[in-house]
């Protein structure tokens, strides 16, 4: 299936689930909800940063403090994702500024992510085509920890940064980017590397630990929590382009929903990515009963993934077709 066919197919199936008339009012853009969520998250980051500052004088307390701070920092992925869709704010410069800020702090190249993520929306859960396929079948417990520890993330994002800065993109990644846009992608990687080099030079020259204590170490140790949320989005769901069942909507508490900018309504987000995060609950209320909604919370979903959707501990077992069907997963043969 070509990209064009895949897109047409997606929209056709979207219409079977939700009408244009129902969707229209939900797609309206506003600035206020995004401002509340963004500055709310920055407030949390400021608060945990202050806790790190207090813990600096209390020996080993610095580590749990940095972990908490890192968990907050890693949730900047949520506004990065929403602004990559352009749905966070009605005002465009606000959207693009937040996109860049979050990209730099979370070490995601923002423009390339926009292309890559468009590919994910076209080919979500299609083996060999989805650029953001999280733990495709067959998956192992070790693979799960490799993903959740974020080692996978640093290899991927570091690869994007350095390869693009050197003016090279892998053929797989290239399929999502028009040829004439490559120079912009390479430039953004160079700008980001220059910023990080500046921070490294500052740290070495001044001997200050500020960058390490308030940003880099917390980011590295805190990001696994955000990775676990990503696992819940699709892992173990059907591995084919099925708008109703290839993602998971996870019912969860209001704090988690706030931190992940309502991406717990993941089926709804994939059903209609032009609906801003603040209207996903409204969309869920209208069509949620037709989508794959699970009410076991994020911890319950991790347990489900680890106990029902693994194909071995460290070596991939051959897949039993009966068990595969029972788990709802489809494998690329």
């Amino acid at each position: 299936m070509t990209t064009i066919d895949a897109n047409a197919d997606l929209l056709e199936r979207q219409r079977e689930i939700v009408s244009r008339k129902t969707l229209k009012p939900l797609t309206k853009r506003r600035d206020l909800p995004g401002l509340i969520y963004f500055f709310g998250l920055l407030g949390c980051i400021g608060l945990t940063g202050f806790i790190v500052y207090l813990a600096e004088f209390n020996g080993w307390w610095i580590w749990p403090a940095m972990l908490l701070h890192g968990i907050m920092l890693s949730h900047l992925f949520a506004p990065l994702h929403e602004t990559s869709h352009g749905t966070a704010f009605k005002t465009r410069w606000l959207n693009e500024s937040v996109l860049w800020f979050c990209g730099i702090v979370t070490i995601w190249t923002p423009l390339y992510f926009r292309y890559d993520h468009a590919g994910h929306h076209t080919y979500a859960q299609v083996p060999g085509k989805d650029p953001e396929f999280v733990l495709p079948t067959p998956r192992t417990v070790l693979g799960y920890f490799y993903y959740v520890s974020a080692m996978h993330l640093w290899v991927k994002n570091g690869g994007w940064l350095f390869r693009h800065a050197l003016g090279y993109m892998t053929p797989f990644n290239r399929q999502f980017v028009p040829e004439d846009q490559l120079p912009k992608i390479y430039l953004e990687a160079r700008i980001m590397l220059a910023i990080y080099a500046g921070l490294a030079a500052f740290t070495i020259y001044t001997g200050s630990l500020v960058v390490l204590t308030y940003w880099l170490i917390p980011t590295i140790i805190g990001v696994p929590v955000a990775r676990m949320l990503r696992v819940a989005d699709h892992t173990g769901c059907v591995e084919e382009s099925d708008l109703r069942n290839y993602a998971r909507t996870v019912t969860t508490d209001c704090i988690t929903r706030f931190l992940c900018w309502n991406m717990s309504y993941h089926c709804e987000h994939h059903l209609a990515p032009s609906v801003p995060f603040h209207n996903l609950k409204g969309l869920h209320n209208k069509v949620g009963d037709q989508l794959n909604t699970v009410d076991k919370g994020y911890i319950g979903v991790q347990w489900e993934v680890l106990t029902r959707h693994m194909n071995g501990f460290w070596r991939k077992r051959p897949i039993d077709p009966v068990a595969r069907e029972a788990s709802g997963s489809v494998v690329q043969d």
Partner: protein, 107 residues
């Protein structure tokens, strides 16, 4: 038909800051309204063929429903990733509560 003004839609059939699909001679066209002004373009996104009439009008911009690529509704210019190829736009006029477009002639 070429270069003739062709009836497209009644003014009161589109809300402000909105878009409606129409079909003329089997061709899919999107008609936009913003601040009381009307605009028209082909209805297919140049990135992945989604219907722009399912998208969102924000000021002078139409945002594609599928990957949120953005085009200027006045000029058809591609404004942000993942779109980079412009869309064709048509000349439009309003007469007696009706919107007409110059079909066959792009701006």
């Amino acid at each position: 038909m070429e270069n003739d003004w062709v009836f497209a839609i009644n003014v009161d059939e589109i809300d402000d800051e909105d878009v409606e699909p129409i079909e003329i001679e089997g061709k899919e066209i999107a008609i936009y309204r913003n601040n009381g002004q009307f605009y028209a373009s082909v209805d297919k996104c140049t990135h992945g063929n989604a219907f722009l009439s399912d998208g969102v009008v924000v000021g002078d911009v139409i945002e594609c429903p599928l990957h949120q690529g953005r085009f200027c509704i006045k000029t058809g210019k591609a404004l942000s990733a993942p779109v980079s190829v412009p869309i064709k736009t048509f000349e439009v006029k309003v007469d007696d509560g009706k919107v007409f477009l110059k079909f066959g002639q792009t701006k």
